[in-house]
Amino acid sequence: MPKDLQLFPDSAATGAAGVDANYLYILAVSVFFAVGISLAILYFALRYKRKSEADVPKPIHGSIALELTWTIIPFLLAMTMFVGGAVVFFRNYQAPANSMEMFVVGKQWMWKIQHPSGVREINELHVPLNRPVKLTMTTEDVIHSFYIPAFRIKKDVVPGQYSTMWFEANKVGKYHLFCAEYCGTQHSGMIGSVYVMEEADYEAWLSGSVRGETMQQAGERLFNRLGCATCHKADNSGRGPTLVDLFGKPVKLQNGMSVIADEGYLRESVLKPSAKIVSGYAIEMPTFQGQISEEGLLQVISYIKSLSKSAQTAAPAPAAAPAPDAAKKGGN
């Protein structure tokens, strides 16, 4: 038997309060208007019931004053609702600088989640309490939507692009994870759960769970195996621009414009190098489309991020780095 009838979802993230506040405010205004108008209609319907067929009511054309009042007041109310929503929406886009990075790859009917420390999960996400977590998400096939009702957030993952979303869990527990954008036969099977754990439990789980090399190490291994290092040398002597200290910085392009080197830019430069050529370089880089999976891309990007001093996110130092110490910097 399902547990008792729950009418309001529990909230387990800092962002949830903002959404609930907006919801309750609009609910209050709506109930006020709905009840007001329904009572007016009911009262008029009863009060002015047709007594006899012959009676003909006095015609009332209308009044400009009344029309203006019930145009301007709803307009102002609506604008306050807009502002309430916009504030929370903006906050949702600004992931705090010190947030933990996690990577999500949607695939027809499962969520593959990678932690920077190398832990991989399917349809499950373990997060520490009171720590901002930033998700960088993409999909290998169709559009899905990463949705955690208890945190009141969702974001579509679109093929060919990275979508980002962040939250800060503030209540321990196990919460639903849904796919909210229709994605095919098992759309309703693409669900899972998010475990919010105390800091200590999270560290214990992290070290306890089986994992190989960290994402940066896997990225570096891929970086060398695919031959990126031959052109992208650390001292910028190769045929391609150096990647040291690149992440997060604006890059001057061939056509005179500049663009911020974020995850999406790095991903596109790997898969479609000709799309944006760095100024001063030839179009020589081959496409790696099909030679590198979405997870591999995320690992290479993590490696490139690790080369940047300024964008050094507080990636949790792997508790026990079983792998040999980081390969020597900057490739051969």
Partner: protein
């Protein structure tokens, strides 16, 4: 209780009506008379609504239990897709304009027929062709992309009859375009002398605004669906991410039409409600020009707010803000309408005939539907409720609570005029009450489900949502009863219903000055209109008798 007193001298039903004026099937299939074409539409739309309703029943039955045990996942997806495609393209969009609009609009403005009768018949044949394609796609394995055909699933990954269903929707779009074209030309060029724009009944204003949306919106979705079909058939890459295409561009072009399409569905119903409220409170409408202008402003603003379907889709933050402000602005004209209708009831002489009960039902449901739209327009709340059952409940309150209630109310109100027979009054009231109660029982729990986070289009759902889903399915059976009642007593009234007089409700409007059912040419003489719309009260200043020479 039904008011039978007529206030205008009534020509008795002399001569042949449009029903008796031509015999045999060909006289119907090749008719150019807007009244017969309206009846052809009535039959085909009723058939399609049986089909759409069947799929709705299947969905509700499936969702009684958390596990997906009535239908397999794939057939459930095909069921809700077919429910969506049939309801949107073949019932909600054509219903009021093609049936009531086609029949009444020419008569209301004092014309013999629509401006382009052959194009009107062509529009019905295109509708039938589109319906044939959609039904063929059903027979050849069904389509499981949802009525929105989102790429890249619809263009690359779906392995069902997507192209046939897409062509069905594509073709039905042109039927809607031709109806809109006919209405615009007729209102501009065919009004009787004296029928100025601000003497037009609000029913005509609402259909004029609808026609604007049909003309300006439908071609964009027609092209978008064509591009998806080309991409799927020949491997062209319009929205294919592998070659640099952007699935979000499909969503932009799709919703550019599909949001104004919801105004194609609701505006005609608003037109019907304006007529019902004035007739049954026997009073001039409150703020005539405000209601007329709010219809047109809904049609225009409706075109620049489609992005509220895409707040979480990867659209930029800036665009989300722009669409949110504009979406809140479009809510204002709808609010103005509801306020004006309520004010019309003030100091009226209100009778509770079946059409008026449908109008009260419309008020209740459209209020909830419209106000829940504010939640969806708010970007923060939409982060949570997008693609959940909150959205499903919202648009059902507007589309079924608004558009279908208005359509049924209009059908009851003009049934005597269309068929010359009177439907059983008590049965009409009972069906209105059933529909109102059944509707609230079905869709109100879904608001709660939505905020709890139950996503849309789910074949199986977590257990804690079961109680609310069961309530919703229970309500659906009451709603089903409410909808089948009219079908029974309308058909019954065709044979055994008492003959209807020309003006059974004592209503104002040119359609009530001609016999029911009306003669083929509508008017023996084109009338000269000299008074305002809904001039119920014998005001001394405007006391002009509508001249009639039989």
């Amino acid at each position: 209780m039904s008011s039978a007193v007529n206030t205008l001298p009534m020509p008795e039903n002399v001569g042949e009506s449009y029903l008796t004026k031509g015999k045999g099937v060909m006289s119907w299939l090749l008719t150019k008379d807007h009244k017969r074409i309206a009846l052809l539409y009535l039959l085909s739309i009723t058939f399609m609504s049986l089909l759409g309703g069947f799929f709705a029943a299947l969905i509700r039955l499936e969702l009684i239990t958390p596990g997906g045990d009535l239908l397999s996942a794939e057939s459930y997806n095909k069921t809700f897709t077919m429910h969506g495609v049939i309801m949107v393209f073949f019932i909600l969009i054509p219903a009021t304009p093609a049936v009531l609009g086609n029949f009444l609009m020419p008569i209301m403005i004092g014309a013999r027929d629509l401006a382009l009768p052959r194009i009107n018949l062509l529009s019905w044949y295109i509708y039938v062709l589109g319906a044939a394609f959609t039904l063929f796609s059903m027979l050849s394995g069904g389509v499981d992309t949802g009525w929105t055909f989102y790429t890249p699933y619809s263009s690359t990954y779906a392995n069902s009859a997507v192209i046939t269903a897409a062509l069905g929707a594509f073709i039905s779009g042109f039927s809607s375009i031709l109806t809109g074209l006919n209405f615009i030309v007729t209102v501009h060029k065919m009004r009787a002398p004296g029928m100025t724009w601000f003497r037009l009944p609000l029913f005509v204003w609402a259909h004029y605004a609808t026609a604007l949306v049909q003309i300006l919106g439908t071609p964009v979705v027609a092209m978008t669906i064509l591009l998806v079909a080309l991409e799927r058939l020949f491997g062209f890459s319009f929205f294919n991410p592998n070659t640099g295409g952007d699935p979000i561009l499909f969503q932009h072009m799709f919703w550019f039409y599909s949001h104004p399409a919801v105004y194609i569905m609701i505006l005609p119903a608003m037109g019907v409600i304006s007529e019902l409220v004035t007739c049954f409170s026997r009073k001039k409408v409150f703020g005539y020009s405000f209601i007329a202008m709010s219809s047109v402003s809904i049609a225009v603003i409706g075109f620049i707010i489609w992005g509220h379907h895409m707040y979480v889709s990867g659209q930029s933050v800036y665009a989300g803000m722009v669409f949110s402000i504009l979406t809140f602005i479009v809510a204002i004209p709808s609010a103005v309408k509801v306020f004006n209708w309520t004010a019309t009831l003030y100091k009226g002489s209100i009778s509770y005939d079946a059409p008026m009960l449908y109008a009260f039902g419309f008020f209740g449901l459209f209020l909830i539907g419209g106000l829940t739209g504010l939640f969806c327009a708010n970007v923060a709340v939409d982060l949570h409720i997008h693609d959940t059952y909150f959205i499903v409940a919202h648009f059902h309150y507007i589309m079924v609570g608004g558009a279908i209630m208005g359509y049924l109310g209009g059908l009851h109100f003009w049934w005597p005029k269309i068929t010359g027979r009177t439907y059983p009054e008590l049965a009409g009231r009972i069906s209105a009450i059933f529909v109102f109660l059944g509707f609230n029982l079905t869709f109100f729990p879904q608001f709660l489900l939505g905020y709890l986070g139950m996503p849309r289009r789910y074949h199986a759902y977590p257990e804690e949502f079961q109680i609310l889903n069961m309530m919703s399915s229970a309500g659906a059976s009451v709603l089903a009863i409410g909808y089948t009642l009219p079908m029974i007593y309308f058909v019954w009234s065709l044979f055994a219903g008492p003959k209807a007089s020309a003006n059974p409700w004592g209503a104002k409007g040119l359609e009530w000055t001609i016999p029911s059912p009306p003669p083929l040419e509508n008017f023996t003489e084109i009338p000269i209109v000299t008074e305002e719309a809904y001039a119920y009260a014998p005001e001394e200043a405007e006391e002009h008798e509508v001249k009639h020479h039989v």
